[in-house]
Amino acid sequence: MKPAIDVVVSGWGSYIPLYRVTVEEIARIWGKSSRHFKDELLIDEKAVAGLDEDVATISVEASKNALARAGIEPKRLGAVFVGTESKPYAVKPTGSIVAEAIGATPRVLSADMEFACKAGTECLQCCLGLVGSGMIDYGLAIGADTAQGAPGDPLEFSAGCGGTAILVGQKSKEKAPVALLEGSASYVTDTPDFWRRQKRDYPSHAEAFTGEPAYFTHITSSTKILLEELSLKPSDFKYAVFHQPNGKFPIKAAKSLGFSKEQVEPGLLVPWIGNLYAGSSVTGFSAILDIATPGDRVLVASFGSGAGSDTFSFVVQDGVVAKRDKAPTVSDYLKRKQNIDYAMYAKFRRKILV
């Protein structure tokens, strides 16, 4: 897929909460071995939202960073979309809270999107379409989560918190474009590998079914379709970001498609912050924009359970250099951390109800 008008990334910004809990600490509480999570799934610790943080606050922080880099007035945003599976309200848009908080209201389109971990790139696809058709000048796509994992469930070891906002605009109106969209591809089937029913606090999952028939089938399919449509091959890319439910899956998917570990590792954040769900692949992309040089080609592939994948190809532009220092980088957020024990984590994540 390619929009009628050339679309570029104008700004980007992430936010990762201060707190971390290690997999050893979670394993200690549940009497499990951390070996599987550390050595095989390559997760050391995960980011934990504080008591006063949720997807709305994470999105606002990330959006402010994206706006600072884009250097545009918030009122120029024609759309603000928030992709998440951790909506603070079941009914009441997070997008309107974020749009109001950053000063984009009232002449703005806003909505919340849900497609498990793919919701962030789903927002990006919608913004690319609106901007690329000329309906709006700028759109803000946010992928953020305070991911849920039931106490003791394998998901608890990886479900992290954080998010990223990608601000896109028309190439012809952008003085310092960050990255040019070459094209995108989506691949969706009805594959029930992971879900959360109404009024349930924690998701259910079909264990190994989340792997081959879900993650790998979808993410490799959307990527193959895009490579074919753009007549590109893995070696044409400097970097590749694949959705990161753990460290093992993106490396395996990349390898099966012909990408090297070296192309994947710079955007692989899951060892230090866990799986950011809807924020995962876009935060990986954000980390790449923090370090990329103009001319680099970047592949970004999301996966959302249920199931589907979006894959994008961007070519980094000159504007990335000047805009980089106008907001904290992902690396800055990785360094800014405070480890907490399980008790504090349980309190922050409201696992203890009083």
Binding site: S33, R35, H36, A206, E207, A208, F209, E212, P213
Partner: protein, 385 residues
């Protein structure tokens, strides 16, 4: 009673077949079996399966599969004897043809465990134990076998490494099996350092969870040349039972159902354990394999370690155990396992086993266990003269 031949077989690779349903799996195996036999039709279909009602919400498997593979209106039904359902189906099919009730019978098994998540699968498989006196109190199959393994190690002063070495041998064999779920070699350290499941059993002591189907066509031995150019004779076959709970057994290190079924099958075939060249035995856990080898008469009680060290169970030894890799490496598609075993022995005796082939095999044995040894089915096959 008529003598019986296996005139063809069909297998699917054992793995997690995410995109194939129960009927599609069996259909694939049945189609392969039908292609190799010049039979005018099928008189009956008897299928082994354990977990479909729990994990696939499907009962009435006979009717389902007969319809799917296009052999209705012949009689078709499922037999269930837990992990020995496949072996039970073969005995039922043998009886049908031997008695003269039917002439050409398709037997086999199918299992689709990947339809379930771990808790459901564990519970479904656990139902092979005594629901009132084992399952109710929290026992699982692995915990019951862990008790047996601990007791064996103490009774016969057997180091834990011996069990690991048996798993290593199974993977060495299975690495050559194109139908195997885990076709790779492992080291003793792989077994010893893998995750502990129920002390002393670790992950690599256990058969993997997988899906698969196997189908065989049986007919009277005297008619076999009409339908096939290559066939084997089932010269002995028997089933037996033991207490369903292991606590009621006088000796938990003897699988009496295997002892009794093997004795009957040997007598029927007019053979002894020494005559057997190859055997596909039931090693759900390494301890199950060790007890089975001893109770089939291939080894004195408690002497397994010595014979394993002397390479007695490898080609060139007294009897080659599980050239397929056994449940440990080939996999354990529960209700189909007994049918895989018979197909694999037939493959060997006919010289069709490719890289798995054990040279000069004339007599082969299969042993399929249900529960912790509460049911056993033993078959003895020989190259047709």
């Amino acid at each position: 009673m008529r003598k019986i031949a296996v005139i063809s077989y069909g297998l699917t690779k054992v793995e997690k077949h995410w995109k194939k349903s129960l009927r599609e799996l069996f259909g694939e195996a049945a189609k392969s079996a039908m292609e190799d036999a010049r039979v005018p039709g099928i008189d009956a279909l008897i299928v082994g399966n354990m977990c479909a009602s729990d994990l696939s919400d499907q009962n009435n498997i006979g009717g389902l599969l007969a319809d799917y593979i296009g052999i209705s209106p012949c009689p078709a039904y499922r037999v269930e004897a837990a992990c020995a359902s496949g072996g039970a189906a073969i005995l039922a099919g043998y009886s049908a043809v031997a008695s003269g009730m039917s002439d050409i019978v398709m037997v086999g098994g199918v299992e689709k465990l990947s339809d379930g998540v771990a808790n459901n699968t564990t519970l479904s498989l656990g139902k092979a134990a005594d629901a009132d006196y084992e399952l109710f109190f929290g026992s699982s199959f692995v915990s019951l076998n862990a008790l047996m393994m601990n007791h064996y190690m103490q009774t016969y002063h057997t180091p834990r490494e011996v069990f690991a070495d048996f798993a290593v041998l199974m993977h060495k064999n299975g690495a050559r099996n194109p139908y195997a779920q885990l076709p790779f070699e492992i080291s003793r350290e792989t077994v010893m350092n893998s995750d502990r499941i129920a002390d002393p059993i670790t992950l690599y002591d256990c058969a993997p969870v997988g899906d698969g189907a196997a189908a065989l066509i049986l007919c009277p031995l005297e008619d076999a040349p009409k339908y096939s150019d290559s066939y084997v004779e089932i010269s002995g076959i028997a089933g037996a039972t033991d207490t369903i709970d292991i606590a009621s057994r006088p000796d938990i290190l003897s699988l009496n159902s295997t002892v009794v079924a093997a004795d009957k099958a040997y007598k029927m075939a007019k053979l002894t354990p020494r005559d057997v060249d190859i055997a596909e035995i039931h090693d759900t856990f390494t301890i199950t394999g060790v007890l089975s080898i001893e109770d089939l008469g291939f080894c004195e009680k408690g002497k397994f370690a010595k014979l394993l060290d002397e390479h007695a169970f490898e080609p060139g030894g007294a009897v080659t155990i599980n050239p397929s890799g056994g449940l440990k490496s080939r996999g354990h598609p529960v209700g189909a396992t007994g049918a895989y075993q018979v197909a694999e022995i037939a493959m060997q005796l006919l010289g069709n086993a490719g890289k798995m082939q054990v040279p000069d095999s004339e007599i082969g044995l299969t042993q399929n266990i249900g529960g912790s040894g509460s049911s056993s089915f033993v078959s003895i096959l020989r190259r047709a003269k």
